[in-house]
């Protein structure tokens, strides 16, 4: 057999062992570390930065308020960042890829540095826990949206309609929960709404072979128009009867919720967020460890190969796109039931497109897409928090961040992203 390996023409080079670890990651980290040095050292700001770690709802447990000399802390962090970037370079030197956790640590370090810089010399303290809790709140619908996006694209259907699915979920959940006085019914109805949008997407994409980007864009317009019309025409006149849903309560998990920082952040949340943890884990394990996931990915990568082993491509795509819609729909209910209650016109405000960005930035992987969503949610919340403590950073640029990094990602500047091979391609049997 080794003979075969040796004689194959192009193959001799293809065989394993030639895997080259690219220097892209270390270079990218290096650039960010350099930016950190410029910001923290060269443009370092004098004064103190005050971090307050106590959560607003923490009750008894008070954490110390940390005051740091801004410039010095900045220098330390900048050095740390440079060292981490060098570490990544060393890994590449010895043919090892920089692991995701390492990049995450690097990101946390630099973000901390940025926070210190931004909060130095201003008369307010930075409520770190509050910042993180708010970030998770903004991330939750993004995470649902990106999970749906990952599923849909992995099975081979490009999903631009995440925005529409979120909005439909938000609208239907608010109305249903108001009418039935049941939050659970509201969440379920949101899932159904997401599925309905998915059905339209799936039918047009799979049966009528219409360009999937077009349907996605049109569906977003359709849902936005429909919900706004109904909101203006019907809900506004009957707020009490139709748009006054109950709001989910926080359900602190005994024991876990008192852990400093992490407790209030992760374990003092509402049901939708807990469901989100389950969904992230479920989608990840399902995709890579179960028959369902194997078939789903097969259909998205090479539908004809899947067909020849007896997998019904159209059906697999249809139902998984529907499932994706259900997940995104639940995410939509977070805007209403999980947050403020009543529905407002266009209240998703582009979250679906950020979720799409997270799917791509996360390389179509559920965990990475979740991390990307968290990053984007964090950036958005940081914008408003820094604005409220009169930091010199204009929050519009933080709001831009998700979109900018996604462009960098698709342009291949930050690692190379490769989507499912057959995403967006209809499959037609002869």
């Amino acid at each position: 057999m080794s003979a075969v390996t040796a004689t194959s023409p192009v193959a001799s080079g293809t065989a394993a062992g030639e895997l080259k670890v690219s220097y892209k990651t270390p270079i990218t980290l290096g650039i960010f570390a350099l930016l950190g040095v410029i910001l923290l050292v060269v443009f370092g700001r004098n004064g103190t930065s005050v971090f307050n770690f106590t959560a607003s709802n923490a009750g008894a447990i008070q954490l110390p308020v940390v005051s740091m000399p801004g410039h010095l802390t900045g220098v330390v962090i900048a050095i740390l960042g440079v060292l981490l970037a060098l570490g990544s370079g060393l890994m590449a030197r010895f043919q090892r890829r920089t692991p995701l956790w390492y990049i995450t640590i690097f990101a946390v370090v630099l973000v901390t540095g940025f926070l210190v810089w931004a909060s130095t010399g201003i008369p307010h303290e930075l409520h770190v826990t509050g910042l993180l809790v708010g970030a998770l709140g903004l991330s939750a619908p993004l995470i649902f949206g990106s999970l749906g996006g990952v599923l849909s694209e992995r099975v081979g259907v490009t999903n631009i309609a995440i925005e529409g699915q979120l909005l439909a979920g938000a609208f239907v959940s608010a109305v249903t929960a108001t009418i039935t006085h049941s939050i659970i019914a509201g969440i379920l109805a949101a899932a159904v709404a997401g599925v309905l949008v998915s059905f339209v997407l799936a039918v047009f994409a799979i049966k009528y072979v219409v360009n999937q980007v077009i349907i996605g864009v049109v569906l977003n317009t359709l849902v936005a128009g429909l919900t706004t019309f109904l909101y203006q025409q019907v809900l506004l006149n009957n707020i009490g009867a139709l748009n006054n849903p109950p709001v989910l309560k926080q359900l602190p998990i005994p024991g876990l919720s008192v852990i400093p920082i992490i407790g209030p952040l992760l374990f003092d949340q509402n049901v939708i967020v807990y469901f989100m943890y389950v969904a992230v884990a479920g989608v990840t394990i399902g995709l890579f460890r179960t028959r369902w996931g194997l078939r789903l990915r097969a259909v998205g990568e090479h539908p004809q190969a899947a067909d020849t082993v007896g997998i019904n491509v159209g059906r697999t795509r249809f139902w998984n796109v529907a499932l994706a819609g259900a997940i995104v729909g639940v995410g939509g209910s977070y805007f209403t039931l999980g947050n403020i209650g009543p529905f407002g016109a266009n209240m998703t405000n582009g979250a679906g497109y950020i979720a799409l960005a997270a799917v791509i930035f996360g390389g179509w992987h559920p965990i990475r897409a979740t991390l990307a969503s968290l990053l984007f949610g964090f950036a958005t919340n940081l914008g408003s928090v820094l604005g409220s403590i009169q930091s010199p950073v204009p929050n519009d640029f933080l709001l831009m961040l998700p979109y900018v990094v996604t462009i960098f990602a698709v342009a291949g500047f930050v690692g190379r992203v490769r989507g499912p091979a057959a995403a967006g391609r209809p499959y037609i049997k002869s």
């Binding site: 057999m1 080794s2 003979a3 075969v4 390996t5 004689t7 194959s8 023409p9 192009v10 193959a11 001799s12 080079g13 293809t14 065989a15 394993a16 080259k20 394990i285 460890r289 179960t290 028959r291 194997l294 078939r295 990915r297 097969a298 990568e301 090479h302 004809q304 190969a305 899947a306 067909d307 020849t308 082993v309 007896g310 997998i311 019904n312 091979a421 049997k429 002869s430």
Partner: protein, 505 residues
């Protein structure tokens, strides 16, 4: 398991791809299905495999009529297929590919250890060396084909269909595959072997059925001669030779030195190739598909990015020129895949005829298309090249393959050429069109243009070539004269240069 096909008929619109085909394959037998490209072999097998539904006729396994609504049914019934284009998912591992569609689970999770064990067990039985955890995209073509075989065997296939399995293989790999097929046969499998290569048929076949234009035209014994089989296959004795005048020896026009090409993955696909083509001669590039010929022709046109070495045309380097400049230097090109690379299916004949001349006179003046000129030009060319169409405004997508190729020829040959490169110029064409294309190529040569013809068909190579360069694994094994015997060329295509072969370069 005995396989029987009775009266299988399948039409695509007006075309009858299969016309009442009967076929019986016994267990422990290798049954060859022989036929030209487009004879209807693959359609038949796709029906057998449940990918297409037959218009009429039935499939019987051990005398039981089968009703397949999809490939899953066929697989469950014991039919396994080794597809011409491998049905493997490149980003999956071998084990994942093998288990796909009939996965075993433990507590809801994929039982990968079981799948790995299965791959190892089958590999051991046939002496394959396949790592169950290797990604398909990292494996050589020959190994991928073995994964296809393992895939079929892991589903307990009793009837195995090999659809043109040797198209992508080197002669050695082909020999190994033949060995495997015999092994499978001895294990009691019924094997259908689809091919159009006579040598392979005679080597392994127990029975031969020849298909032409969708019909069974005859059966033959493996002892039949090549000529008998071939005449059955094409319906006449193949006589591709055309009248050619002697080469008028001239100076080399195209000089290629040390040409090396890397593909996008950084692998060497053309390795230090040097050759010359003189004005007024045809250099045929022979070889098994995928040995660097495609990349070589593309490099001449400037379509390849990672090229080293020199390409000089009439003393001037054209290597670093962008494509439109290469074309402007007088290089005519017929790409291998005419539908993808040469024509725009939705454009009219007239539009396609000016496709590579959209930059200046006479088709364009001051940025505007000269429609009157285009109409006249197209009308003339359609006549001259005998393109059968309703008019010059018909879209080329609705033309037959032969007429499409005539449009390409008309376009390329209507420029003043200093080099003509034709890759697989007659692939998939009917006999009449083949003759027409060959005549035109020879006429171009006779007009004093250096011509390169790339072909995987030895018949075509021998019919056209003044000299033959045989490629293997990205290298030129040798350049020999156009009358070199087939067996020598065959060995060269396998990378061996028989001692005493007279080189002609």
């Amino acid at each position: 398991m005995k396989l029987e096909l009775r009266g299988i008929t399948k039409t695509f619109g007006a075309l009858v791809a299969n016309d009442h085909i009967d076929l019986t394959v016994q267990p422990g037998e290798i049954h060859c299905l022989l036929g030209e490209n487009g004879a209807g072999k693959s359609t038949l097998m796709n029906i057998l495999y449940g990918l297409y539904r037959a218009d009429s006729g039935e499939i019987l396994l051990d005398d039981v009529v089968q009703h397949f609504s999809g490939p899953g049914d066929a697989a469950r019934a014991g039919i396994g297929m080794v597809h011409q284009h491998f049905m493997l998912i490149p980003v999956f591992t071998v084990a994942e590919n093998v288990m796909l569609g009939h996965e075993e689970s433990k507590f809801g999770f994929l039982d990968l250890p079981a799948a790995r064990a299965r791959v190892r067990e089958i590999s051991a039985r046939f002496g394959f060396d396949v790592d169950p955890d290797a990604l398909i995209e990292d494996l050589p073509v020959g190994v991928q084909q073995r994964v296809e075989i393992i895939k079929a065997l892991s589903r307990e296939a009793k009837v195995l269909v090999f659809d043109e399995p040797t198209a992508v293989l080197t002669p050695q790999e082909t020999d190994e595959l033949m060995g495997i097929m015999k092994q499978l046969k001895d294990a009691g499998a019924a094997i259908v072997f689809i091919t159009h290569k006579l040598r392979e048929v005679r080597e392994v076949a127990d029975k031969i059925t020849v298909i032409r234009l969708g019909k069974v035209v005859g059966e033959a014994k493996p002892t039949a001669t090549n000529a008998e089989l071939a005449s059955l296959m094409v319906g006449r004795s193949i006589d591709l030779t055309i009248a050619k005048s002697k080469v008028k020896a001239k100076e080399p026009a195209l000089v290629v030195e040390g040409l090396t090409i890397h593909n996008a993955q950084g692998h060497v696909v053309v390795n230090n190739v040097s050759f010359q083509v003189r004005a007024g001669e045809i250099l045929a590039v022979a070889g098994v598909q995928g040995n660097g010929q495609t990349e070589l022709t593309e490099a001449l046109l400037g379509l390849q990015d990672r090229v080293m070495g020199t390409i000089d045309l009439d003393g001037k380097s054209i290597r670093h020129l962008p494509i439109h400049k290469v074309l402007a230097e007088g290089v005519g090109f017929i790409p291998e895949d005419r539908q993808e690379d040469a024509l725009i299916a939705e454009f009219s004949i007239a539009e396609n005829l000016m496709l590579d001349r959209a930059d200046g006179e006479p088709f364009v003046r001051h940025g505007a298309l000269q429609l009157a000129y285009r109409t006249k030009f197209a009308t003339d060319k359609v006549k001259e090249f005998d393109v059968r169409a309703q008019g010059i405004d018909e879209v080329v997508g609705s033309l037959s393959g032969g007429n499409q190729q005539k449009v390409v020829l008309a376009r390329e040959l209507s420029r003043t050429l200093r080099l003509f490169v034709a890759a697989q110029p007659t692939r998939g064409l009917d006999v009449g069109s083949i003759e027409f294309v060959h005549e035109r190529i020879v006429a171009t040569r006779d007009a004093g243009v250096p011509v390169i013809v790339v072909s995987t068909e030895l018949d075509e190579v021998l019919a056209l070539a003044d000299r033959i360069a045989v490629m293997y694994e990205g290298r030129i094994v040798g350049i020999v004269s156009g009358d070199t015997p087939r067996d020598v060329l065959g060995l060269m295509m396998a990378g061996e240069l028989p001692a005493g072969t007279k080189l002609a370069a």
